[in-house]
Symmetry: C2
Subunit: 480 residues, 2 copies
Amino acid sequence: MPKDAITTRAADYNQWYLDIVREADLAEVAEVVRGCIVVKATGWALWELMQRELDDRIKATGHSNVQFPLLVPKSFIMKEADHVEGFAPEVAEVTRAGGEELTEPYVIRPTSETIIGHFYSRWIRSYRDLPLLYNQWCNVMRWEMRTRPFLRTAEFWWQEGHTAHASEADAEEETLRILYDVYADFAEQVMAVPVIRGLKTENEKFPGALRSYCIEAMMQDGRALQAGTSHNLGQNFAKAFEITYTDQQNTIQHCWTTSWGVSTRLIGALIMTHSDDEGLVLPPRLAPIQVVVVPIYKNDAERTKVMAVVEQLTAAWRGLLRFKLDDRDNLSPGYKFNEWELKGVPLRVEIGPKDVEKGSVALARRDIPGREGKRFVPQAGLTELLVELLAEMQTALFQRALAFREERSARVSTYEELRQQVERGFAWAYWDGSNADEKRIQEETRATIRCIPLDQPNEAGRCVYSGRETSRMVVFARAY
Amino acid sequence: MPKDAITTRAADYNQWYLDIVREADLAEVAEVVRGCIVVKATGWALWELMQRELDDRIKATGHSNVQFPLLVPKSFIMKEADHVEGFAPEVAEVTRAGGEELTEPYVIRPTSETIIGHFYSRWIRSYRDLPLLYNQWCNVMRWEMRTRPFLRTAEFWWQEGHTAHASEADAEEETLRILYDVYADFAEQVMAVPVIRGLKTENEKFPGALRSYCIEAMMQDGRALQAGTSHNLGQNFAKAFEITYTDQQNTIQHCWTTSWGVSTRLIGALIMTHSDDEGLVLPPRLAPIQVVVVPIYKNDAERTKVMAVVEQLTAAWRGLLRFKLDDRDNLSPGYKFNEWELKGVPLRVEIGPKDVEKGSVALARRDIPGREGKRFVPQAGLTELLVELLAEMQTALFQRALAFREERSARVSTYEELRQQVERGFAWAYWDGSNADEKRIQEETRATIRCIPLDQPNEAGRCVYSGRETSRMVVFARAY
């Protein structure tokens, strides 16, 4: 684990990202399967922790998990006009199975609105069956041309929630509940990633949606990353798949449906929010290992002495902390320090013979690199201190990311200011332009409207492009 | 939820199974995707509980979870001779993606030995990299012609462990550790399903394995169900995929690999071990709802009185019991009783105005149907009683299944006895026949050698078919 395994952000930001993915045991590009990755042990452990936290929130808001088929009849994808346009070009098709050509091909689900719509139309009969609140954790596949581990891959892993309601208001309430209580809460409290809660413009909404909401985060290069989306699908899919119910007046009505998802892309967001030139930095709530203990000794006598104290100290940690004792004999302490820094372990405890004598340990904090983050503390009260420091670090990472985003955000009032601001971060601007204006700006600046934030200022101003007065403010940025 | 929603076992065992799958909200056949199912809310909740228990054991034995691609280059499947023969005829192929024909098709993984072998050959360099102990939870696909929910479906969900070792002994130890400490322990302690731990014959082993071990359970029709397999793959895949390492003498050696899996088939095993003519019966450790509370009242005044006591009683249950309060106002208590019996909830607590006065509740136990399973107990000490009864029921279900299996098992010493015994259950027989003999018996009796049990009697006898003396005993049965 050479110290220079990671390219610095300043030297090459993209290579820095790829180096961390590789060296921190997160993922590997599966060259033999185009656009796909192998998610390695640390990467999948991270995803499992994310899943647990998200799943708790999804269940707490009344949803049950189910599992629909991987394959979707190709004709289903064609039933909703916008959906076809969005997904048909990038599906993988199964045309042969069990040694025979299929009469109708299947596609591997790029998302499951269509196959789920088919079943909902069979399951829902009466208003009493509503709302129907289901979610599934699964793999999906989109044949992307330009891929990058976690951020954009042909196969990825996600949860997709699909719900059906009796009214537009109910569907809208669901869409926003997921955005706020599940996604934004998870991103900020657990990932320590500050997000803007917003509405997508018509250009950027999900193919087939009435309205798409999103949470948007800022990465360390100032670009935006869409970290989760929640769609009010209106009656579009209900009409394409005949999802109807009989209301209390005995009239047949179309349902209002929603869908919402977050994916392994969040691992990319996590890396690019917190990590540094030494490697991965993980918020304690998502760290598969929160504390690593490195014993230091030169001979068997020292080893015995040190290990006895290590055992005493760690006895109380089980169930309280996720920790690892790195007692590998063939590696130097310095090598181990580097390795665990690179893999993003929040706290490192070092104990050598001198520490045993003094009743102390050395303690290093991953988010404060170098000497500043290291100090000697008494063994007495260590457990409580570790728990406290993990909580403190969770907050500190969020605050640091928030300060970074604020520093890289600015209100702009002219198009020239907008051009300059999207070079470094988020440009907040009044907006009253058309879809065509938005596309022109994208061509000229490579920036898009990431969202119309749901928290709007209570004032009006002039549109950054048309100059017309408007009370709507949007966020422009270049995006992943 | 009519009382006669479930066909009796005596009338039609197969229909009984399908009725439970449907009525207990476990799964639905997805007619639009051949051979596939939708796993519904109760079914998936069951699977999640199974996963949690298995995953804990898999991690406790030193394995990490990872995730390999869904797609496998078709040429990979062809690399191991026996593996081709076993799996090539039943794969689904992706021949077109992103709007273009692929030059080399992919198959959807029927199992992942080949793609994982490819990566292991890149990852493993030295003896220091061994053992490599990985597992993945995922979906797989085999284009089966005759399907049945959970028991045999085109897409199913499973875990597949894949490990690499330096020696045959290490691989064998791993294979047996999984069989005993993970699979058999889980089946008996958690599923309450007694299993025989055994070795597969050459005819029945996994395509490409050196030795296949299995756990075999008996269903209520006397047929066997293979509930999990653990394979010592020898050096077959290591040679096909060049998985090598440099040993301590600096010589290049082929690794010894293993693979092992259990799947959503276990849900089928669970149904057919414990359930009865009233519906699903679940062992408490896997019941998504362990206790259901049904309040009984005729008017608002009674409702208020009853619900106050319900709240008091259930306040202590959170975190201790998985429970549900069924306070639906539009359904009668009788309807609710039927529904929860059908869905396999282990314990039902009923509280009406009279119970409030008397300080009692009515308590019904799912594994003892009718009046016998119902009694009145004091509200004081109810929580402790419920916890105790759940543990008791867990043991009782295992004991009942074990007694059933023993009653349906017999030693046979002649071929005629064997023929008769496999009509009703397991036939234990001395065996020294050939592979061809085994196949002939299968043609004549529809029974196969389920396994050579690892616990063998310390004696010898005459082979049931050839009459030759042997010390090897096997179990014949018809199987799912």
